[in-house]
């Protein structure tokens, strides 16, 4: 199993390397001139040349890349062209918002999606199943930003106009400042995220559970006199879990790099909204940093998934002994 994990780590490093080449190349070939962005429209040619030289943009591509990676490995992501703040500081300040959004949302989507999927699979064809499937297909079809805007309109704007406030409009309150405010401000984004994602989990859970419930060992468990709850959760759900864990890992990994749409709609200043701003402003170092950070999250979560997967499967686990 150690071999397996080592090979996964090597693959993760490869992913990050290629990703860094990708973003680097992307900006290297970019027609826009960073010096112009930093110095503004009225800058003289000399000033811009000066800036280019300071940034090392006049050196050959490989050298630039080497410097870039060298700095990267020392944790130096450069300075934002726009705010002149260190990029690392800028990005790190946004991570708590995104993490709060993702992990809070995860609790909701798991709590909504998995029970719906299990209930559907236990009584396929029943009214409960049809409801669950309907929920799932609507959720999967709902574009996140439409749902978010509708939620804001119906749950924030309409009540506020009618004189009672259910939810705050937007913004983020740090957890350490006030846990209650934190949760209250995040509740609508959480629910929006959760409804869309829960649909995926409900479908996945249902499909997996249906397959597992048709297995011979489920019949054995029933023949043993194990009660139905235990059959469902201890026997069937145990086997249905690995694909769910995989999906969860993929989702978390992708989302930690920025829940772009939800952050945009709810005005949360997370990594994703930083990315959108940076892209709009052509703030190259920030974009590079966020893409790489996203890559790191994906690689780490894949690693966690692979390890969990191996631990969940007795066949993989025992093969290592």
């Amino acid at each position: 199993m150690t071999r397996f994990i080592l090979s996964r780590i090597a693959f993760g490093v490869l992913v990050l390397f290629l990703l860094s080449v990708f973003v680097f190349m992307l900006f290297y070939v970019s027609p826009s001139d960073p010096a112009r962005i930093i110095a503004g429209d009225k800058a003289t040619e000399e000033l811009m040349a000066q800036i280019r030289s300071n940034l090392g943009l006049d050196r050959p591509m490989t050298e630039q890349y080497a410097t870039f990676v060298g700095n990267l490995l020392q944790g130096d992501l450069g300075y934002s062209y726009r705010s002149s703040m260190p990029v690392s500081e800028l990005v790190v300040s946004r991570i708590p918002v995104t993490m709060s959004l993702v992990f809070g949302g995860m609790v909701f989507w798991l709590a909504i999606g998995i029970p719906i999927g299990i209930a559907s699979a236990r009584h396929p064809g029943s009214a409960r199943d049809r409801f669950g499937q309907g929920f799932a297909i609507v959720g999967i079809s709902f574009p996140t930003f439409v749902l978010g805007m509708l939620a804001l309109y119906l749950l924030y704007f309409v009540p506020t106009k009618l004189g009672f406030t259910l939810f705050p409009p937007s913004g983020y309150v740090p957890f350490e400042q006030s846990p209650l405010e934190w949760a209250w401000h995040l509740l609508l984004p959480w629910l929006t995220l959760a409804l869309v994602v829960a649909a995926v989990y409900a479908r996945l859970t249902r499909g997996q559970m249906l397959e597992v419930l048709g297995q011979d060992y489920i019949r054995t468990a029933r023949a043993k006199g194990v009660d139905e709850r235990r059959v469902t959760y201890v026997h069937a759900f145990r086997s249905a879990m690995p694909p769910l864990v995989t999906q969860l890992g993929i989702d978390i990994g992708l989302m930690l790099g920025g829940v772009i749409v939800i952050e945009q709609v709810f005005g949360l200043l997370g990594v994703g909204s930083l990315a959108v701003t940076a892209v709009a402003m052509q703030d190259r170092p920030v974009v590079i940093a966020i893409v790489l950070l996203g890559g790191v999250f994906v690689v780490i979560s894949n690693l966690v998934v692979d390890t969990t997967y191996a631990l969940l499967d007795s066949r993989v686990r025992t093969a290592a002994r």
Binding site: Q215, D216, Y217, R219, T220, A221, R222, A223, K224, G225, V226, D227, E228, R230, H235, R238, S239, L312, D313, S314, R315, T318
Partner: protein
């Protein structure tokens, strides 16, 4: 004798997309305490659905009738009450022990779970009991194996674990659903012996289901024969198996290879089982019965004989024995000096990622003589299929040579390869897997013509229809998909495809093991007839020694990648030299003695046999003979 399980008029209907499947139709029987009760039937006879629905294990099934077990009707118990019966008073053992055990939990955990589902015992006590049980079903080093997962056991050991689990609460009844079908024959025998021992040791009653008459004749006290969801015959095992009173039982025995003289053609039951969606009025076996009379369109009475046999049939005499089919004389006589295939010191090893390469074939030498049928027998994983593929030239050997008609089959150029592909053909085991489900039968059988560019258009179609005729398929079904044929018909399609190019050697890889006994006989007879007419040479691979002895001239026994014994069928069967061959033989189904039996038909009692006295009021002596 007290009755432990009393099934009265049980009917099971299962709604499906195509309509309601009447899987079990008004079946009654009772199992006495302490006996070994066998239920035999082919696929679609409803035997499995019947026992599983008794236990409430068939989702969506609608049941009627009653199943009395210790004065309770299992069919009308509340779910929670039924649950407390399951596993504690009645436990079940299933066909495939690998898929029937949860792959993600240790076997110990699974046994402990069953104990704790019904009794309040400490984890420690439960574990001690589980280890003791594993020990009693003779799993070596039981305490250490407690923490092993199912995939770490062999097939036979897994079934022992299932039996240990089934016995864990000392149930009154064990229902074993094809418990040995997925196992090798030598392991099969061990498991049957174990079941027998456990029955005497624990005083448990056993209800065992099997498609295999040979297996049941070995262990059962009483046997019930099912067909088309109905009970055909019920009685003491030796009475039913030695002197069948129902034409179906008689037909089943006639089509079993273990029960016939080698070399004589089998007498198959023609036709196909009835649809369970629309079961026929009257007798379900009517359409295939050689004794069918006009009265058979009405529901047959249950006749009682003085030896306890009960038969649902209008027939009052011994079932007739149809003449075996007459086969043409062979067009090619095998001789010792005309080898079509010569295998010399063949070795095949697959490299493994770590450690030693896995040796699949080890120094194999043999020859296949033109015109003969050479049997290749061995248990799963012995290398017999790999050897066949090597002979066909589909896998390259690591060392040694295979010569076909004097020319080596390795390192062929394109033309030689295509030529070899015409002269050697394969028929596969799985009639479901070997035909592409998305292509029409005409295109499947016509494939050889297309691939070798030998015929196209109307000519190809005509040739394909000739082939279909040859193997006994209706040529009008040219445009159907494989899923629209039964298992036996599909195997005929595979045979037709193999014969398209007039091959010299046909390799038959377990051609009948996925088929029901009565269908097996049809296919075996077809193969025999084709060989005689077309002068084919067969390499017949099987795990079933009885079938091999029946069809083969010579037999090669394989074990662990080697040929351990090679001789004529008679030599191997009557005078085995190797211990492994002896074990195989011992495990093969025993021959059933077929002495004539005296038995008397009893007068009808009650309403069940109201019509029985229509022809003969007085007792009728029936001599049952074969």
């Amino acid at each position: 004798m007290t009755i432990l399980l009393d099934v009265r008029d049980l009917a099971v209907d299962i709604p499906t997309e195509d309509g309601t499947v009447h899987a079990v139709q008004h079946v009654s029987f009772s199992v006495n305490e302490g006996e070994f009760f066998g239920v035999v039937g082919e696929s679609g006879s409803g035997k499995s659905v019947m026992v599983q629905s008794i236990m409430g294990l068939v989702p969506g099934a609608r049941t009627s009738g009653s199943v009395l077990f210790r004065d309770r009707d299992l069919l009308s118990l509340a779910p929670e009450q039924l649950r407390s019966v399951r596993g504690r008073e009645i436990s079940m053992i299933f066909q495939d022990p690998l898929s029937s055990l949860h792959p993600q939990y240790t076997v110990g955990w699974q046994i402990v779970e069953q104990i704790q589902a019904h009794e309040r015992v400490s984890a420690k006590a439960a574990k001690a009991r589980a280890v003791d049980l594993l020990d009693r079903v003779r799993i070596p080093d039981a305490a250490a194996r407690f923490d092993a997962y199912p995939h770490q056991f062999s097939g036979g050991m897994r079934q022992r674990v299932m039996i240990a689990m089934g016995l864990s609460l000392g149930p009154a009844l064990i229902i074993a659903d094809e418990p040995t079908t997925a196992l090798d024959s030598t392991v099969q025998a061990q498991i049957l012996d174990l079941l027998g021992e456990m029955r005497s040791e624990f005083g448990t009653t056993v209800l065992m289901i099997s498609h295999d008459l040979g297996v049941l004749s070995r262990v059962a006290d009483r046997v019930m024969v099912m067909y088309g969801g109905r009970r055909m015959e019920l009685g003491a095992a030796d009475a039913v198996l030695c002197g069948p009173a129902h034409p179906y039982t008689a037909g089943l025995l006639r089509s079993s290879s273990f029960n016939r003289e080698p070399g004589t053609p089998l007498v198959p039951i023609g036709g196909r089982p009835p649809s369970l969606l629309a079961p026929p009025e009257g007798c379900a076996f009517r359409d295939r019965c050689p004794d069918a009379m006009s009265i058979c369109t009405t529901k047959p009475p249950v006749r009682h004989y003085d030896d306890g046999t009960e038969v649902a049939c209008w027939l009052e005499s011994t079932p007739v024995e149809p003449e075996p089919p007459v086969l043409p004389p062979p067009s090619l006589i095998a001789t010792g000096d005309d080898a079509i295939v010569t295998v010399d010191a063949l070795r095949l090893a697959f490299p493994q990622r770590r450690g030693e390469p896995r040796v699949v074939l080890d120094d194999v030498s043999l020859e296949v003589r033109r015109g003969e049928t050479l049997g290749l027998v061995g248990e799963s994983g012995c290398g017999k299929t790999t050897l066949a593929r090597a002979i066909a030239g589909l896998v390259a050997p690591t060392a040694g040579t295979v010569e076909f008609d004097g020319a080596p089959t390795a390192n062929l150029d394109r033309a030689q390869w295509r030529d070899l592909r015409r002269r050697v053909q394969l028929v596969f085991q799985d009639p479901f897997g070997s035909l592409n489900p998305r292509r029409r039968v005409g295109s499947i059988i016509g494939d050889p013509f297309r691939i070798h560019r030998l015929a196209s258009g109307a000519e190809r179609r005509a040739k394909v229809q000739d082939l279909m005729e040859l193997v006994g398929l209706n040529p009008e079904h040219y445009n159907r998909f494989p899923s629209q044929f039964s298992g036996g018909q599909r195997q005929r399609i595979g045979i037709a495809r193999a014969l398209a190019l007039n091959p010299e050697l046909v390799i038959l890889d377990e051609p009948v093991s996925a088929l029901d006994v009565s269908i097996q006989a049809q296919v075996l007879n077809l193969l025999d007839e084709l060989q005689r007419r077309l002068g084919l040479t067969y390499l017949f691979i099987s795990h079933d020694l009885a079938v091999v002895r029946h069809v083969c001239d010579r037999i090669a026994v394989m074990e662990g990648g080697r040929i351990v014994e090679l001789g004529t069928a008679d030599q191997v069967w009557n005078d085995p030299q190797q211990p492994f061959t002896r074990r195989l033989l011992a495990a093969a189904a025993p021959e059933i003695p077929r002495e004539p039996r005296e038995r008397r038909l009893l007068p009808p009692t009650g309403s069940a046999g109201a019509h029985a006295d229509r022809h003969h009021a007085e007792q009728l002596a029936v001599e049952v003979a074969s």
